[in-house]
Symmetry: C2
């Protein structure tokens, strides 16, 4: 294995284990065993477990970014439809995984927000990017007149991403897609419509 | 300390530590130190850490149940107002804690759903009770004509509790109450209104 490959392999195996078991619940030894590298090799690439964890976080962020571009990046498609494609793609992805593991960013947000300010700051940045992606879809939808002009797209994007994370968490618990279906129904039926202007009456 | 007191003290200290740090991240030794009891004493009351963890879960469930009765149990108050009181009470509670720790049930749902079927089943039962409490408020509201007859109160209760959990998780990340405010605004402005009948047109 070349140097770049070794580093990537450690991150990939670590990302898989942390996604499945949590950050604090995954030992360094387990990661090294899975990656098939000696301990010295780990410290050649990473200062410590936290430094490694931040690299893993970045790999999750890239995965999500990739999905966002793939399923919602095509501006020829109507913005609300793009957004729905994105949620549908994730739903298929979660189904393939047997509704296990959930959102790696949501997992670490829940686990690490009170335990490490370094993690918290990095997760906050990634989460803001996820929220911005939704906000951009809403801005396009508002410009086209597909949703009400009275919607505060910044607040609504926050509500949507938080509710999505909550639905994913519940999916992990009940091991079926019902929470994701209910999420989509409610968001697209009650909020993202042209008629949702009750807030200002 | 009497026997009941010792058991209760271990559960109380364990509940505090697990709420702050997570289940797998909290060692038995730490719990015993905090409770000021020897290891033998622990195994007198609990078969193992999992058995202890289930007792801790039950103590969280009782706390939530208590808050639900206290802030939303008074049937003289209109159902949507009761529901708002409940969310407001939690918001004040979280604020007092510096927006740390979050929901203990949400934390363990996120951490344990894939790691222990025993935990998962117990959390599922508790979470269903939380959802049912919301559903009962919605049923009352629908009977009084305060919300649309077209709302599927079971699905909407699920959406509300999941979105609430997502908002709490985000609150832990950003360390302020904005996600909770946004949650309330969206739920009460767009969904829990008499006019939200677009779903069936």
């Amino acid at each position: 294995m070349g140097k770049l490959n070794t580093k990537e392999t450690i991150i990939k195996e670590g990302a898989r284990l942390i996604h499945a078991k949590g950050y604090n619940n995954t030992g360094l030894k387990e990661i090294l065993n899975a990656a098939g590298v000696p301990k010295g090799s780990f410290y050649f690439y990473f200062q410590n477990k936290e430094d490694f964890g931040l690299n893993v976080l970045e790999s999750y962020a890239q995965f999500i970014q990739h999905k966002a571009v793939k399923y919602a990046g095509d501006k020829c498609i109507a913005p609300l439809e793009r957004l729905e494609h994105f949620f549908d793609a994730y739903q298929r992805h979660f189904k393939k995984l047997g509704f296990k593991f959930g959102c790696p960013i949501g997992n670490l947000m829940q686990e690490m927000s009170d335990l490490s300010d370094t993690f918290r700051a990095r997760i906050n940045t990634i989460y803001s990017r996820m929220q911005l992606f939704i906000e951009e879809c809403l801005a396009d939808a508002q410009n086209r007149g597909d949703i009400s002009q009275t919607i505060d797209i910044n607040a609504t994007a926050k509500f949507i991403i938080d509710s999505w994370e909550g639905a994913i968490m519940h999916m992990k618990l009940c091991k079926n897609e019902q929470p994701l279906e209910i999420f989509k129904q409610h968001v697209f039926r009650y909020i993202l419509t042209i008629e949702s202007n009750r807030g200002v009456r």
